[in-house]
């Protein structure tokens, strides 16, 4: 099995990757501005939806139910989609999916594909795999065009280029589209992309897309988008290939009434995004006459196997948790070293990779809970983060790791009264070289990480326990306060 999530296996730890990003004032300004705008818009359209909490509860219950019967619904989807003229493929991992898609493109004689933004294809590294087979993949979502032409990577699951401002976009388009006189007005930049892509839409014979929802009872596929590039890729080519995680299936067409209300408001702060497309297999005389769906596992069944983290698979990729996260808002998405960033990325990436990579990600959070509050499908991200931190310690750290040893020692001390009191007495004696005026300001070795950013109170001359004992004997009414006592 070769499960991959973008380049996350070779990415540096979050803490390391974040440092240079925090130094980049322009990047931080761009991210702050974009996330502020989306959050404000989201707030307005969520507030006018008086049954928002009821919609969240229903969505969460639908997703939990679907996962409980995932095998049933996937088979049902496969049957319905096939009956409508589609062809369903199953992929165990990234390489499997890339092999299937590359094979299909070659089978239909294509050497180019046009793509709708799909995070799943970034997860499996589809563009690179196609490139190796001599097939050019053209991204068509405006943000993905900016990323692709700029040789960059996505920093947000909904607005991948939010770390670039207009003048940075202009520089990329000027050079790569050969438009020396292009202005930096968003209208002009958008028009340049429209012109640049129109010819590709009309010419390229194979389209590749993801899926927002796979509808089990009808075999339909739903794509939610804004620009119309999606509709172009879904209707103009002869062949359409959709790659979708197995968790994207929902039981019925009717369930869309819940998700189509939650997703746009959460993702872009719109009541409804400009275009939702739904199609079922192939439709005679309208759109591609060859349709393939690739159902992707790539580690998802592992997430399913952990009951405490299973809710991770509820995610509908709206990005609301990124926009609200105080950590993401400082660093942007690149620090997460994965196609999935922000709080949801911090729980998705390491789990898909069986906790072998991305172990720093569950720590990239202050556990403030803002992500849980905005999540339209009620994923309790802080709870999963803590659970995964536990797994990192249990499964990954060697028993001789200094932190693990320290924690073990601490556990031994804190679980016994005599050991705890002895440790306090020892500490009081041992701390004197480090204390000045009742504070410790420079601890040695690894403990120095603590005092680098804060001071630590010295252990008091008399502990609460000691005071309590003496009080019982002498009947005194309070502790004596001396300099250095806390």
């Amino acid at each position: 099995m070769s499960i991959r999530v973008g380049e996350s296996a070779s990415a540096p730890s979050f803490q390391k990757a974040a440092l240079p990003l925090l130094e980049d004032a322009q990047l931080r300004r761009n991210i702050r501005h974009a996330t502020d705008v989306i959050q404000r818009k989201r707030g307005l359209v969520v507030a006018e939806t008086t049954d928002w909490q009821e919609l969240r509860s229903a969505a969460s219950a639908i997703k939990a139910h679907t996962l409980r019967y995932l095998d049933h619904y996937l088979v049902q989807f496969e049957k319905a989609c096939t009956a409508a003229g589609g062809q369903v493929h199953w992929a165990a991992d990234a390489d499997d999916a890339n092999r299937i898609i590359t094979g299909l493109v070659q089978q239909y004689g294509g050497d180019e594909v046009i793509k709708i933004k799909t995070m799943t294809s970034e997860e499996i590294g589809l563009n690179e795999a196609l490139e190796r087979a001599g097939i050019r993949a053209h991204e068509t979502d405006l943000a993905e065009v900016i990323i692709q032409l700029g040789g960059d990577t996505s920093s947000h699951i909904v607005v991948p280029a939010l770390h670039k401002n207009r003048s940075q976009v202009r520089e990329i388009f000027r050079e790569r589209m050969n438009l020396p006189d292009l202005s930096d007005k968003p209208e002009d930049l958008t028009a340049a992309a429209r012109h640049y892509l129109r010819e590709k839409f009309l010419k390229v014979k194979v389209g590749v897309c993801g899926a927002n929802f796979l509808v089990a009872d009808t075999g339909g596929v739903c794509i939610v988008e804004s620009e119309g590039n999606g509709r172009m890729c879904l209707t103009l080519p002869d062949v359409l290939i959709s790659v979708a995680g197995i968790e994207k299936v929902i039981p019925t067409f009717q369930d869309l009434e819940v998700f189509l209300q939650l997703l746009p408001r959460s993702a872009t702060g719109e009541r409804m995004n400009p275009y939702n497309s739904l199609w079922t297999g192939v439709h005679a005389g309208d759109g591609p006459q060859h349709f393939h769906v690739v159902l992707l596992d790539n580690g998802r069944t592992r997430v399913l196997a952990d009951p405490e983290a299973r809710q991770t698979l509820h995610c509908i990729r709206c990005g609301a948790c990124l926009n609200t996260c105080p950590v993401y808002r400082q660093t942007g998405g690149h620090a997460y070293g994965s196609s999935y960033s922000g709080p949801i990325g911090a729980i998705v990436t390491p789990q898909l990779l069986d906790m072998r990579y991305g172990q720093s990600l569950p720590y990239a959070s202050s556990l403030c809970g803002a992500c849980y509050e905005v999540c339209p499908v009620k994923i309790n991200i802080p709870e999963v983060l803590i659970h995964l931190r536990g797994r990192v310690v249990r499964e990954q750290k060697s028993a001789l790791d200094p932190e693990a040893l320290a924690m073990k020692a601490a556990a031994a001390i804190f679980t016994s009264r005599t050991r705890f009191e002895a440790a306090q007495r020892l500490g009081r004696i041992g701390q004197w070289p480090l204390v000045s005026h009742g504070w410790m300001r420079n601890l040695p070795g690894m403990l120095g990480n603590w005092t680098r950013v804060r001071d630590l109170r010295a252990l008091p001359r008399q502990t609460f326990r000691e005071w309590w004992k003496r009080r019982a004997k002498s009947g005194s009414s309070g502790p004596k306060r001396k300099n250095g006592d806390a």
Binding site: H33, A34, E54, S57, A58, A61, I62, H65, L67, R68, D71, L74, W90, A91, A92, T140, L142, I146, V159, L162, N165, R166, V169, P186, L197, R198, F201, L202, T218, G220, S226, E227, G228, N229, R231, M232, T235, L236, F253, Q254, E257, V258, L260, Q261, T268, E270, R271, M272, P274, Y275, N276, S277, L278, T280, H283, D286, G287, T301, L304, A305
Partner: protein, 213 residues
Amino acid sequence: MPDTREAVLERIRSALGDTARSEPAEDYAAIPREYIRAGRLDPEARLQLFLERLRDYDTHVVETSVASLPQTIAAVLHGHGQKKVIAADGLAQEILPRDFDFIEERAASVDDLNACDGIVTVCMVAIAFTGTIVLTHGPGEGARRLTLLPDRHLCVVRAEQVVETVPEGMERLAQFAAHPMTFISGPSATADIEMTRIRGVHGPRFLDVVLVR
């Protein structure tokens, strides 16, 4: 590959190992759905909400009556200076202005779509709460590419097609679930550059809704 299919399904079943499972249908029926299904507005307020939400997302709206629909369509098309206009196949002839020379959809190539000034269609359902029109691409609604490549889309909506809530809309659409479907909420747009909403990236830059009441 059939063995990958079996392997994935087997991994799912073993991952769910201890999870209590019954009949999917029974479990599905127990999902709480306490959200608003039926709208609460009277018909006039519902239409007003629809118009307001359309305008809010840059849709140009005109109201008319059945009797004056053809003149209204002609006035909108002339108002924008549109000459080469394609009418969706299956559109009822009596709604179209007689003195306007429409191109038939079936006669139009992709290049014609790309080069025309606009198109005229009807829709199947409209949702007031979100300002959405839904096409099921049946007679009069056009094939999917018809409402995509041209720069202007004029859509005729009858008052009785307008529902208030998304669940009401989905209920009406259920019988067309096998059709391709397009939900349109305003003209195509993007906010990918600095979250500034720009109208018209790849789909029509202008959407005209003619509401018949």
